[in-house]
């Protein structure tokens, strides 16, 4: 974007130390000067936006193509919509998204149950492979989980 307010090329010494070799992005980037056109480039056709698509506040428009997997929904969706009110520079964007992911995992279980599916969580966690390749490790995990569970249970029982 040209600075139209003044003739910057008239600043004494403008451009006299240009060094073509000083291009630290070589060879990963083929410097063409196109960056100076900023957002002025031939845009692909726009994919129809027919789902709820959250957009970063750091861009003015949707990208020409986008993924359609799992649009925001439920409580996690509400949290995600809040997150996208804030820029990528802010913790208020990323921490709520991580929280939404955790909430979403529980929503997924509830969703499964609503559809009559009882999620086989040990299978989803790959415990078959653990049993095959590291049976001792699996036993340790199960015992540890049972002990922690028992301790917590007895603590809360005593509190009552």
């Amino acid at each position: 974007m040209e600075n139209n307010n003044f003739d910057y090329k008239s600043i004494p010494g403008w451009g006299m130390d240009i060094d073509e070799k000083n291009e630290p992005t070589y060879p990963m980037k083929n410097y063409t000067g196109d960056d100076h056109k900023r957002s002025d480039y031939e845009k692909p056709l726009q994919q129809p936006v027919d789902i709820e698509l959250l957009k970063s506040t750091e861009r003015p428009a949707y990208s020409a193509v986008f993924g359609t997997s799992s649009p925001p929904s439920g409580l996690s969706g509400m949290i995600r919509r809040y997150a996208f009110e804030h820029s990528e520079d802010r913790y208020r964007h990323w921490i709520p998204l991580i929280l939404a992911d955790r909430v979403n995992a529980w929503e997924g279980i509830i969703d499964d149950l609503k559809k009559g599916i009882i999620p086989n969580i040990p299978a989803e966690r790959g415990w078959k492979a653990e049993l095959k390749y590291n049976p001792g490790g699996l036993v340790k995990k199960v015992v540890l989980t049972a002990v922690i569970g028992a301790v917590l249970l007895s603590y809360f029982k005593r509190k009552k």
Partner: protein, 383 residues
């Protein structure tokens, strides 16, 4: 169709999902023949990447056969066997035009810091990935590359990410003849980076990790020195010592956000998420490189921030170079390297597992069971 379905941290399953559809005139639908689990998929699997939604299908390393094309697709045709770069790139924005296909501006509405990537959360565009029998491939005129007829399909699938990322890791190091290069991480990317570093003429390539079977594999595959940091009092001091107290010329971080080795980084980054994962490898890379050296970063770090010794970057005059690999830019050269027998990507594959057993496959890779280095998933639709 059968596809991976993410259900929450450490939980995935293979189940019947709707077939993908053409949603844009430049889309193609690819029937997947090979798909891999990447080390960076584990960051998704472990719940470390923000906006990873239940119901997503992961998978950014895949090959397949073009089954359907949109009306504006001209560079590939139905029946072509293609390898698909993990970057989704339009080929027209000012980033793509300059070879930065991993930084495309027209493939991700949700984060300007990341270009579109197949199956890598909504932070990378919300696209379903290739750990499935079929996948929607946007911008089919730009990304998909016809596989040479005499190329082993196992080599082809590793050209979608592992080989280009390892190669670019070395390339970004600006390695000169006679240099000493230290690679952090002996996973598939680190091993490939160590192997590819030799293309740039160094005198020494050193790899650092904490898993003995991976270090042994790296020594043989990449012909490099390999050291276990668990046997060291201080890895930075060790590396200074073995480089004549000067530091390495180039350090390459191939670990990313789930590094081991530093209690404070682990506590703040992995246990409490006060930072976006543990940046131990990057910290060691910065502190181990010589003054005026180059640190190359391909290890994946998510948003938002990480604690790294930026003061040492300043005071040592370090050049930091990082990016997602620009696969399309590198493919012609890398295909030539593979066809000429200089690179053996399929030598990294240790496990071939049916797509139906994806939950076990993820656990094997995550827990590093059975001396796993690289897992390829085979859909039943494979010819």
């Amino acid at each position: 169709m059968l596809a991976m379905n993410y259900r929450g941290p450490f939980r995935v399953r293979a189940e019947q999902r709707p077939m993908p559809e053409i949603l844009h005139p430049e889309d193609a639908i690819v029937r997947v023949t090979r798909t891999c689990i990447c080390g960076s998929d584990l960051h998704l699997y472990h719940g470390m990447v923000p906006d990873t939604r239940v119901g997503s299908t992961f998978g950014h390393e895949f090959t397949g056969i073009i089954e359907e094309i949109g009306p504006l697709v001209t560079n590939v045709k139905i029946g072509d066997q293609v390898l698909v770069p993990f970057n989704i790139a339009c080929g027209r924005c000012n980033f793509c035009k300059q070879g930065l296909y991993g930084n495309c501006h027209e493939s991700n509405s949700m984060a300007t810091a990341v270009g579109g990537i197949f199956g890598y959360s909504h932070t990378a565009g919300g696209f379903n990935g290739g750990q499935a029998e079929y996948v929607r491939v946007p911008y089919a005129n730009t990304g998909p590359t016809v596989i040479p007829p005499d190329m082993d399909p196992d080599n082809a699938v590793l050209l979608t990410d592992v080989v280009p990322t390892g190669y670019q890791a070395a390339e970004m190091g600006g390695i000169k003849e006679g240099d000493t290069v230290v690679v952090f991480g002996a996973g598939p990317i680190g091993i490939m980076a160590a192997r590819c570093a030799w293309f740039f003429g160094p005198a020494r390539v050193i790899i650092i990790d904490h898993i003995d079977y991976r270090l042994e594999f790296a020594k043989n595959y990449a012909k490099c020195e390999a050291y276990n940091f668990r046997s060291m009092e201080d890895p930075v001091v060790f590396l200074k010592k073995i480089t004549d107290w000067y530091g390495a010329d180039v350090c390459i971080d191939c670990v990313g956000c789930e590094a081991e080795g530093n209690a404070l980084q682990t506590f703040t980054g992995k246990m409490t998420l006060m930072q976006a994962g543990a940046a131990t490898a990057l910290q060691w890379a910065i502190n181990s490189v010589k003054k005026g050296g180059i640190v190359s970063v391909v290890g994946v770090y998510g948003p938002p921030f990480n604690y790294i010794p930026i003061g040492n970057v300043l005071n040592k005059g370090i050049t930091l170079r990082a990016n997602q690999a620009s696969v399309k830019r590198l493919l012609p050269k890398l295909i030539e390297h593979v066809q000429a027998g200089r690179l053996d990507p399929k030598g990294l594959i240790t496990h071939r597992i049916p797509l139906e057993e994806i939950a076990e496959a993820y656990h094997i890779f995550s827990a590093k069971l059975d001396e796993c280095i690289k897992t390829v998933l085979i859909p039943s639709t494979k010819p």
